[in-house]
Amino acid sequence: MMDGITPEAARHILPAGPGKVVGRGVARIEDGPLLRGEGRFAADVNFPRQLHMRVVRAELAHARLLRVDASAARTMPGVVAVWTAEDVAEIPPIPFRATKVRGLEPYCQPVLARDRLRYVGEPVAVVFADDAYRAEDAAEMVVVEAEELPVLLDATAPPAEFAPGLDTEPTVVRKEYGEVGAAFRAAHAVVELELSVGRHSGVPLETRGAIARYDASSDVLELHGTAKKQHWNRDEIARLLGRPPNGVHLFEGHVGGGFGVRGELYPEDLLVCAAALRLRRPIKWIEDRREHFVATNHSREQHHRIRAAVDAEGRLLAIDDAFFHDQGAYVRTHGARVADLAAGMLPGPYRLPAYRVAGHFRLTNKTPAATYRAPGRFETTFVRERLMDAIAHRLGLDPVEVRRRNLVAAAEMPFARPLDTLGTDIILDSGDYEGLLDKALARFGWDAMQEELAARRAAGECVGAGLAFFVEKSGLGPSDGVRISIDATGAVELVSGAASVGQGVETVLAQICAEALGVDYARVRVVHGRTDRIEFGNGAHASRVTVMSGSATWEAALAVREMALETAGTLLQLPPSELTIAEGVVCRADGATGPSVTLAEVARRMGPNAPEMRGRTPGLTAERWFWSDHMAYPYGVHLAQLRIDRGTGAVTVERYLVANDIGRAINPVLVEGQIRGGFAQGLGGALFEEFRYDPQGQPLSTTFADYLIPTIAEMPVVDVLIAEDAPSPLNPLGVKGAGEGGTNAVGAAFAAAVDDALRRPGAVTSLPILPAQVRRMLDGAA
């Protein structure tokens, strides 16, 4: 049996090739309300008598908190309450999810700052008022007295004191295998680089929001505006507020983009819940954009000092990396996950006999950091692929050739590395890396392009091309469940423990369900992100939904199908094996005319009052779970062609290709959308977006005029090659996640192409690549 596939599902592996609805770019079932302005995003949720919460935030990056004076604010019109740390002293700090790393607890964030202010934007007090405008008026009146302390803004600087007996390096993530020292001693050449990635993040277009309501009549606390991890968040909110989990329900409406940052448990989520319980009124909090830039998770900032030992043919013998991960002021819900992913995923697609990494997980006086689309991979793909380019240059090899020599071969799959990440062993499940590289080069016309670029350079233009290979990970377990029910009208409802952040989850799950059941996918109602509808769930993150919830959907739908055929067989007096379901009707599988019965009728016959159901659990319904101990690893290659304006240093992307093998595309149009949209975010991180700070730790990127998200004018035409050459053997659908491959290698590919245009190998050592830096590189300075 394949790992991850239950015996039941192994009988029903989804056949290759397009199905009736799976594998087709059908229209989304989500779009209607979103196009009519009938969506229900967090800010659209309102309850009678609600109060608006406004957060007073620290204006100093590091200070001793002396006093918070809320007396003037309490007398402002419309104000019902103002809370400081004393008012929430009983609420424990925000916890983190399970991790093998020990000793992080003292670094967790209190819901309101207690003795220290550790970053600009840290919540210090909250105001509750009857109107959002008046809440903001009152928040301005809260006086925070604090004594400035020296700030720490550089994660490569020696650690400082966090609290007595604790320094600002909570842990060092270490992984090692093979004979690293011996490899370096025996090396033909050692290549050494120092590289850094700038601080940026998901920045969804909808800011965060949280609306809590306590229904005393049923003793249930509700939280609306949630995303991503409802069940874990429910359990933690219940624990932290001293309630049973079944008395807390989280609801997900529409979600205006997640990208990793939304749906984590933040201080504001606990504050609205605590206030709803205590003030006995619904509490609404909508983050504003300036708050978002300093309050919602940052990501990415790392500095790597990496060395590679190679033989005379350019084959990797060992990599030794020390990196410094700028976590910001506190450890949040992810613990040290991004540093762990960076350490585990750095080797990527290459054979690597020996490896040692030390990830220094360090705190600074900046907004706390966590995951953002392709976490730990955008960073390490940049680092690893810079390294491969440097090896090629050192040995006089073509950059494509040096990669070919090191790629894990198709015949070596599954390929186990003596490494783990996210608590799972890294076993590359399937792949034909070199095959995809060849396809991508051919599609891009790589060789012909090189000649064309040479001609243009001879004519004075500054043009170049580069490529970067990546390996993604997806389908993080351990489990997810789906319940599918057909009601007496034939309508199908699918309840999933997954969440939707706007990526098309409902359509994809409906397609899988429809394929198995033989119904119209547009008639499948998909329920997600609601703890009141399903007891357990693991949410939407780590490109896991299509793999985990998709596989559970497949199994549940097959189970319902089997039940329907059995009941229909009794009704039609035919053996179930001779029946099939088409367009919601059970009929003969051989196409011969004969008796048939609708699923609606079958469901009615399985109702609780039907005589034949006596003694059995009624309903045409089944719940199935899918488990997986290992992740599925999508992979791909990015190819970039760009030109540089010698006068300004501006980079213009001329052509770009993302080739991505995701095992199987349930909906190729949505996959392309994921890849193109992912590219746009990678483009931001590679050329435009950065959270900057002044020397006092004041954030300089707090508006959309300072934090530069690419517009349509900055977007090149992006060609997308979706490959399905290496289905995952770990699930019955053969799928791997498609959410992050478009982002992963953008920084790396641009760096290579800018080097090439400048004719200066290794010139780019940091992201984002800014025009002023490029202008300086054109002058020949570093």
């Binding site: 240093g649 435009f688 508006t703 005029a705 517009t711 002023a772 300086r776």
Partner: protein
């Protein structure tokens, strides 16, 4: 990001506006709102009184009179950009406007609002400076005229008394044989320029008879490159002349920030000036 409270005034005539300005403390004029509204929403501007100019009669319109074009202060940027008169007579203004924000923001943004906001990178301020604009300023004492060169008196601070308002701008139409060009560099399309260059060249035969060079974004206000202008006048519109004039940018004082240090602004100034000169000369020659 909700504005603090203020009293709203919605006058219909210039006289009413002037009366309000004379009688109210801490009042601000609201034009197109594309800069002031964000400042209000972010609570970095706290006026007690907001005087809305959007329904005031007599502040809009584009008219050619004498050798100048007069534009009412509340004329929308998009109306100016689309105006046949402007496209024919002051193409430099139309070209610069295409870089001001986006089509959508130009639907609301006004020429007077942009000039009075005096952002160091504002395209319209640079163009007005290049074209030697004259501003009509009205106060209780009547109308006075003010050269654009005397308008900025500090960082984002115009030479307007609290009871005065800008009512119109007059732009002299350059003589026949001229060419203009506007170039700028911004990180993204529609962003405020890091540096912009507005150039006017008047050719007589094969000689440059008049040159006007203005940089935006390098300092607190627009920078007219008088030395470079003097170098150009009398010379031939050649690569060598333009190169020498652009090289003058190496000596200018420039602002510095993390994305654009002073050396980079100087480099951009030289590059953009040269490109604008070449384009303007080509256009003049047509």
């Amino acid at each position: 990001m909700k504005p603090a409270p203020f009293a709203y005034h919605d006058p219909r005539s210039i006289e009413e506006v002037l009366d309000l300005l004379a009688s109210l403390d801490n009042a601000r004029l609201l034009a197109g709102g594309q800069s002031l509204m964000p400042m209000l929403n972010m609570r970095v501007a706290f006026p007690d009184h907001l005087i809305d100019l959007n329904r005031v009669e007599g502040l809009t319109g584009i008219m050619e009179e004498g050798g100048s074009i007069r534009i009412g202060a509340m004329t929308r940027q998009r109306d100016i950009e689309e105006s046949e008169v402007i496209r024919a007579r002051l193409p430099l203004l139309a070209e610069a406007l295409s870089h001001v924000g986006h089509r959508q923001t130009r639907n609301r943004g006004t020429i007077g609002g942009s000039l009075c906001n005096l952002d160091p990178s504002a395209e319209l301020v640079a163009v007005a400076t290049a074209l030697d604009a004259v501003l009509e300023v009205q106060g209780s004492a009547g109308i006075r005229e003010l050269s654009i060169h005397d308008f900025p008196v500090g960082f984002m601070t115009p030479a307007l008394a609290p009871e005065e308002m800008l009512t119109a701008i007059r732009l002299p139409v350059p003589p026949a044989g001229h060419g203009t060009a506007f170039t700028e560099f911004a990180r993204r399309h529609g962003d405020y320029a890091i540096v912009s260059a507005a150039v006017l060249l008047v050719l007589e035969g094969s000689r440059i008879a008049r040159a006007s060079l203005t940089l935006g974004g390098v300092g607190a206000g627009p920078l007219r490159l008088r030395t470079a202008e003097a170098m150009l006048v009398g010379g031939a519109p050649s690569e060598a002349t333009f190169g020498a004039a652009a090289a003058e940018c190496a000596g200018i004082e420039a602002m510095s920030d993390p994305q654009a240090p002073a050396w980079y602004r100087r480099r951009l100034s030289a590059v953009l000036t040269r490109r604008a000169l070449e384009t303007a000369a080509a256009r003049a020659a047509v």
